[in-house]
Symmetry: C2
Subunit: 249 residues, 2 copies
Amino acid sequence: MDSSRKFLANVSVDCVIFGFDFEKLKVVLVERAYQDPLTGETLILDYTLAGYHIYEDEDLDRAAYRILKDRTGLENIYLEQFATFGKTDRIAKEKDRLWLKVIDKGFADRVLSVGYFSLIDSTKVNLCSHDSKIDWFPVEKALTMDLAFDHNEILQKALETLRNKVRTEPIAFELLPERFTLTQLQKLYQAITGNIIDKRNFRKKKLQMPFIVPLKEKQDGVSHRPAGLFHFSRAIFDETRNERFGNLF
Amino acid sequence: MDSSRKFLANVSVDCVIFGFDFEKLKVVLVERAYQDPLTGETLILDYTLAGYHIYEDEDLDRAAYRILKDRTGLENIYLEQFATFGKTDRIAKEKDRLWLKVIDKGFADRVLSVGYFSLIDSTKVNLCSHDSKIDWFPVEKALTMDLAFDHNEILQKALETLRNKVRTEPIAFELLPERFTLTQLQKLYQAITGNIIDKRNFRKKKLQMPFIVPLKEKQDGVSHRPAGLFHFSRAIFDETRNERFGNLF
DNA sequence: TTACAAAGTATACAATATACACTAACTATA
DNA sequence: TATAGTTAGTGTATATTGTATACTTTGTAA
């Protein structure tokens, strides 16, 4: 961090980083731990979303990209602002007040946080720990954990936004490798929406979408009949944008 | 304004207040004028959205409601946060810098603004001028005006959000009187989306929606065959929420 | 009484969504 | 090399929804 730049004391960004392990939706959480320096007693041990305050001379979107790159090493990935959280009691819990005191960065205790969600192909990411542990958690599990600040609410809202957006925009592909099977795509939609989808109808619908392009290659390394691979062509999607009315799945 | 409360210097709220005059979508704009105190020369004369900084002890949503009530006198109306604007150059134009200096409130020149849009039945509102003129403008017109700060961008984004949301959520009714005709509803959807809709198909679809309830009354005061009146029942909408898959129009 | 203006109405066809069960292809192991 | 195990891959019939299209009715006003 560049010490000549100042952070805005009242504004932060939190990134909800989603991934997919071909079974469930996952989200990146960062461990927040603090021991009493004298007794060694654990006073805080929980998780937060990936977030930080923004610099006073930094575009809001850039701050989100900075945090994302800092945690995943990735650039040019899907990132979208979805909501801003500004209740006066967002930092009211005892452990959150303690944490603010402990890190002693001069941040205000009235902070508005701008929420972004990111979709990444988690097969090619190594999360960056720096000083605190960081890991993937199933979204379902994360929702039941007692996260820092209002991060449960932020995660919940991010998930709702994702669920809505995935119906009309071709963003699900961001969570898959470049080459994917239709079964993987189906499982992904099921993981996001919570519905089960009929295989034949799903495949019929997908195969008539011109932007889902069949490749010649097949899966390998699987101990059963290998599936054909596909990729998503944004160029074709953009060309045919006006022809589509219905949902994407 | 309560002088014992402090504003956050870096955070404001802007409200995009939409209305409908049975022909076009309208938006509320506030005049921003400044004359040179010596020469009387007009140095600034343009329009802004309804917005202001938030108090440091005020919930973000409450700040939006405060601004809305201040301008319309209304409470309990539809209000939704849609995006936050945080580019570093949002206050870069000469006239905007001058304005900040002139009002001399101690606001920072790095301000993030949280955008809300509101839908109101403009037939029962009297806009509140206070010190600056305020009026309705056709949205189409407003988009071509050179608004203050980044308010063109904010308005544009609000409009997009409205266009998307109106397809799946029953929010259009907020722009109409409690009792409305199907032609009014159709014109409203047309005004929002820019499409023209076939009358017979529109009415067929609406009449089979149980939450659009026919009343016994008819229009009066019109110089032609009066239309039947309807109202939107949120209770029935909520009850039947699970039965609907398609769009609302 | 007539002209005007908007309200109100039905049917045929096309496209899309849904329900449903078996065979094919490949791997691993006996 | 035969067999079991696992996932891939496929078609048809029906229901629902969307779309295209023009005339009659009902009231007001001149």
